[in-house]
């Protein structure tokens, strides 16, 4: 075919020109190549983004650790980066982050799992058709709206039960955060359960097991790697959640394991600093990048854990 490049096509019998339009054109080839390169470039943006995130976080954190020794960062029990007597104990923010995530997961994991099992194994078709889009809608509500709800609805409600509860507290923020995470946990676990082959259920039913027994003893264990992935997704959501905590949990750094107290988290600290006007390049400015790096490492840790869990419990059918 290469001998036809750039020339018109000839009819092999009459040797007349059939059509110019069938000629192989160099321009067409070039255009194809250019488009492919552009598409590749678009796809590579995700790689650039990751590289840029790592670069920005690490380069600013390196500056930060030039002023603050790593041991102070890890073991100090005070977090007062913007005071004259500055302390940088990330432990304080970590306690807030982990505590609020724990409260959220205590809500989202049981409820999300129950909803997933119900939708996948029990619910009639019509209920599922309504419930799935509804859960999706619930997941689409902006987190600032959830924050408003936590501060001005859930906290007053809890204060009726516990009159000594402060206006800002981890509990109400965590509870609302848990409800926000339910759709993620439920829909990923449900997908995992529905991927379990029908034959497993049929076998179980044939042995005389009820729906409940089949769901708990056959389907759930078989789908466990997927369910674990859903939990991990829930944890990363909780750890990275910002606005609910910034609004409803107060922003005072507080090293505590009591959910009835206000506390700052890594994310709400970043918001607090960003709301003020910190000069570019100051130590306070670098602090939020060090905090962000910690947050990234935390999510990375949970994701690796999830990966290991998935590998450990993966079932091959």
């Amino acid at each position: 075919m290469s001998n036809l490049t750039g020339t018109a096509i000839l009819d092999p019998v009459t040797a007349h020109v059939v059509s110019d339009r069938l000629a192989r054109r160099r321009s067409r080839h070039v255009k194809e190549r250019v488009i492919e390169a552009l598409l590749l470039l678009a796809a590579l943006v995700s790689v650039f983004t990751t590289v840029a995130i790592v670069y920005v976080l690490v380069s600013e954190s390196v500056e930060f650790f030039r002023h603050v020794p790593l041991t102070d960062f890890l073991f100090d029990t005070q977090w007062t980066p913007l005071f004259a007597d500055a302390h940088f104990g990330i432990m304080v923010l970590l306690s807030g982050t982990l505590l609020s995530s724990f409260v959220a997961l205590a809500v989202a994991v049981p409820l999300g799992t129950i909803i997933a099992i119900y939708l996948s194994e029990f619910a009639p078709f019509s209920v599922r058709e309504i419930a799935k889009p509804f859960l999706e809608l619930l997941g689409g509500i902006p987190t600032i709206v959830y924050g408003y709800f936590a501060l001005l609805f859930v906290t007053p409600l809890l204060q009726k039960l516990m009159p000594e509860l402060p206006g800002f507290n981890i509990l109400s923020a965590g509870l609302v955060m848990g409800i926000m995470i339910i759709p993620y946990v439920a829909s990923v676990s449900e997908d995992a359960m529905r991927a379990v082959p029908m034959a497993l259920r049929e076998g179980s039913y044939a042995m005389g097991a009820t729906r409940f027994q089949t769901a708990i003893r056959v389907v759930t264990p078989a789908a466990f790697s997927g369910i674990a992935a859903a939990y991990i997704l829930g944890i990363s959501r909780a750890v990275g959640e910002t606005m609910i905590l910034a609004v409803a949990a107060g922003m005072q750094p507080n090293l505590t394991w009591n959910p009835l107290e206000p506390a700052a988290t890594i994310t709400s600290f970043i918001v607090q600093v960003a709301l003020g006007d910190l000069p570019h390049g100051s130590l306070g400015y670098q602090t939020i990048f060090a905090a962000g790096l910690t947050l990234c490492l935390l999510t990375l840790f949970f994701n690796i854990l999830g990966h290991l869990l998935r590998k450990r419990f993966r079932q091959v059918y």
Partner: protein, 308 residues
């Protein structure tokens, strides 16, 4: 006698197990109800608090020190402008990347690297994107705390959503379509542009809408960039009467967006501002919910209508 007793025992056992079934089904419904009730409470609370503030003035007034006169003019216009930049970033990049991964990508380490990155980026907390933008767009590139910085950030944030939706839409097109087009002499790009993209458009659109609805409610990264919380001016208009008619100054203007305005009002101690926050929240929720509902509807129609 003994046999009858045994049968009775078995019946009792079956009945007991069936009761467990019922109990769990009820528990499942109850768990779902927690979601439904929360949503109902959230919506009613905001409606009761904020409905009185929803008037024409609320949409056409700047924020003010006096709660009763404050409005969301600068906030919603800021949101619209940021969304324009976000769409202009995320749609071409996301759809392009999706097309590349499905139609062009060879099986090699570069493709694997891209796929791993897309999956990972979907799990990065949104505030980290804010830090990225602060370091990169605001200071390194010198875009400042502007509409452009915010739009680019949110564009990157929803990129994975658009890429995944595009890929799923393209994957559902059977290979026969490609083979048919190529058999007629179409090049790869002609096949893609004339067949693959048009047929997967509803699916892509669903992803774009869901991504945009997420971007419009996103607060944390925009605060991190340093969006203002109180602005009583509008960015310069993108259209003007004199040539060249288009004006790009708005891209570098300071701005605020709806969720930030709501955050500002929510975090004030004065309860009068909480009514404003409720009204702004109501607008925001109605906006995101209708976008999501539209996406769900398009997907539903799609599933019903197209049979390859």
């Amino acid at each position: 006698m003994a046999l009858r007793q045994e049968i009775g025992e078995i019946r009792a056992m079956i009945a007991r197990h069936k009761r467990w079934d019922m109990a769990f089904a009820l528990l499942g419904l109850l768990a779902l109800m927690v979601g439904v009730l929360t949503f109902a409470a959230l919506f009613t609370q905001m409606a009761i608090e904020g409905a009185a503030r929803l008037s024409w003035d609320f949409f056409t007034s700047f924020p003010s020190r006096r709660a009763a006169q404050a409005g969301i003019l600068s906030a919603w216009i800021g949101s619209v402008m940021v969304m324009i930049v976000t769409a202009a970033t995320a749609v071409p990049l996301g759809v392009g990347a999706g097309i590349y991964l499905e139609e062009y990508a060879p099986k090699n380490w570069v493709t694997d690297l891209i796929e791993i990155n897309v999956t990972n980026l979907a799990g990065v907390p949104s505030i980290i994107y804010g830090l990225l933008a602060l370091g990169l767009f605001v200071y390194q590139f010198g875009f400042g705390q502007s509409v452009l910085s915010a739009g680019l950030t949110l564009g990157l944030l929803i990129l994975p959503v658009v890429i995944v939706a595009t890929r799923e839409a393209i994957r559902s097109i059977p290979g026969v379509i490609r083979e048919g087009a190529m058999a007629l002499g179409a090049t790869r790009w002609q096949t893609t542009a004339d067949h693959i993209v048009p047929y997967s458009l509803p699916g892509i659109l669903t992803g774009v809408i869901i991504g945009m609805s997420r971007a419009i409610g996103e607060t944390a990264p925009v605060i991190t960039i340093g969006a203002l919380t109180f602005i009583a001016f509008l960015p310069p208009s993108p259209v003007q009467a004199e040539p060249p008619f288009l004006n790009f100054e708005w891209l570098l203007s300071g701005f605020t967006v709806m969720p930030i305005q709501m955050f500002n009002w929510t975090s004030r101690p004065d309860a009068a501002f909480h009514a404003n926050a409720a009204a702004a929240g109501l607008v925001l929720v109605v906006m995101t919910l209708s976008m999501n509902a539209l996406a769900i509807y398009i997907r539903y129609r799609l599933r019903k209508n197209i049979k390859w």
